[in-house]
Symmetry: C2
Subunit: 221 residues, 2 copies
DNA sequence: GTCTATAGAGGGATAGAC
DNA sequence: GTCTATCCCTCTATAGAC
C-alpha cells in the first residue's frame, strides 16, 4: 500500500467517524453516543475512535465544529443576498426546514444538553452556535439599517434568541410534536405581524409615524 | 418501630429521593443522574431507588411530575391576578428569575434532552411542560381578550414558544452565559416594544388605528 | 423498609500483533 | 493505520440477610 493510499484511507476513516458521531447522537441521543455505537455506525473498529481522536468527547467536538462550518457555509450566500426583513425571514424559514429535516437541529440540542459539565464539548458547541449567530446578526443589522428597531433592540441578543428558540422548539418536538408545530406557526405569525407593523409605521403619514417613533424612543430612557 | 413510624420514614425516603433526583440532574446533567449518584445525594442506599420506584427512569419521571405541579401551583394565583399584558410580562419575569435561580429551568432542559428515546421520561416531561403552558395560555387569552392580536396569533402556540424559548436560552446559558443574558434582554426589549406598539395603536386616533387593524387582518387571508 | 453483596451489561481506554 | 483482546470502571437491577 503506497503512502498516498494509506493517507487517503485514513482520511476516509476520520470522515466516516465524524459523520457517524453526529448521526449516532441524532439517533440515540448524547448519552447513547458511545465509542462502540459511533464506530459501528461508521463501519469502523472501535479502537480507531481513540487512535484518531484520543477521546470520544474530542471526536464529538471535532464533528460538531466541522459539520457546523459546512452547514453555515451552505447558506452564507443566501444570508448575504437578503435585503429586507422579509428576505431574512424567508432564508430563516428555509434554513430551519432543511436543517430540521436533516436532523441537525436535534443534534445541536443534544450537544447543548450534553455540554453540561463537559468542557470540551461545551467549547465546541459554543463556537458552532456562534457561527449561526454571526450570520443572523450581520443580516439583521443590514436589513434593519434604516429601522427605528436598531436603536431599541440588541441585535446580537435577538440573533441569539432566535437560535436558542429553534433549539428549544426542537426539544419540545421530541416530547410533543403537535405543540412544536403550533409553536413554530405562532412565531411565523408574530414575525410577519412585527414586520407588517414596522412597514405600516412608515405608511401612516409622517406626523403619526414620527409620534410613534418618539414614544418608542422614550422606552430606552 | 411502630407502623406509623415506619410509614413516616418511608415517606421521607421517597421524598428525599425525588428531591435528590432533580438536584442531581441539575448538578451532573441527565446522563450523570445514575441511581448511585441520586441515592448518595439523598443520603440513602442505592437499592432503595429500585425498591421504591422500580427503575431510575420511573423515579426521574415521578420527580419531574411532582416538582412541576408544586412549582406551577406556587404561581397560579399571580397568573390569575394578571389583568394586562404588562402584568403577564411582570409575572413571566418573576417566574423566570426565580425558577432559573433555583435551577429548575436547567433541569427541565436536561429532562427534555434526556427524553429522546426514553418514553417514560418523555411522557412525564410533556405533561410537566403542559402545566406551564396551560397557565400562560389562559392568562394570555384573558389579557388579550380585546386585542386584535387574538385573531392573528394562536395563543397556545405562542405559550409553547415562550416556554420552549426559555429552555433554549437556558441551554445557551450553559455554554455562553453572556450570550444568554443578551438573548434574554433582547426578548425583554421585544416584549415591551410589542406591548407599546399595541397600546399606541389604540392611542393613534380611531381612523389610523382602524386602518392598521384592517391591514393586519388582511394578513390572515 | 433497609442493608450488603453481587451478577451481568456496557463503556472508555490501552497493549500489542499485524 | 487497523485489528483483537483485554483491563477496569460504572451502571442497572436483583437476591437475600436483617
Amino acid at each position: 500500500m503506497s503512502r498516498t493510499e494509506g493517507e487517503w484511507m485514513a482520511k476516509n476513516t476520520r470522515a466516516a467517524l465524524l459523520d457517524a458521531a453526529l448521526r449516532t447522537i441524532g439517533e440515540r441521543g448524547f448519552a447513547g453516543a458511545s465509542a462502540r455505537h459511533i464506530a459501528t455506525a461508521a463501519g469502523q473498529n472501535q479502537a480507531l475512535v481513540f487512535y484518531h481522536y484520543g477521546t470520544v468527547n474530542d471526536l464529538i467536538a471535532a464533528a460538531c465544529r466541522e459539520s457546523t462550518e459546512q452547514r453555515v457555509a451552505l447558506y452564507r450566500a443566501e444570508f448575504e443576498q437578503a435585503g429586507t426583513l422579509a428576505d431574512l425571514l424567508a432564508v430563516g424559514r428555509q434554513v430551519h426546514v432543511t436543517e430540521h429535516a436533516e436532523g441537525n437541529v436535534a443534534v445541536l440540542a443534544q450537544l447543548l444538553a450534553g455540554a453540561r459539565g463537559n468542557e470540551v464539548v461545551a467549547a465546541a458547541v459554543a463556537d458552532a452556535l456562534n457561527l449561526w449567530v454571526v450570520e443572523v446578526e450581520k443580516t439583521l443589522g443590514r436589513v434593519l439599517a434604516d429601522s427605528p428597531l436598531l436603536a431599541l433592540i440588541d441585535l446580537g441578543g435577538l440573533a441569539r434568541s432566535i437560535s436558542a428558540g429553534f433549539v428549544g422548539i426542537e426539544l419540545l418536538d421530541g416530547v410533543d410534536p403537535d405543540g412544536a408545530t403550533r409553536a413554530l406557526a405562532s412565531l411565523e405569525q408574530l414575525a410577519v405581524l412585527t414586520e407588517t407593523l414596522l412597514t405600516e409605521l412608515d405608511n401612516l403619514g409622517p406626523v403619526t409615524s414620527r409620534l410613534v417613533k418618539r414614544r418608542l424612543n422614550a422606552l430606552t430612557k
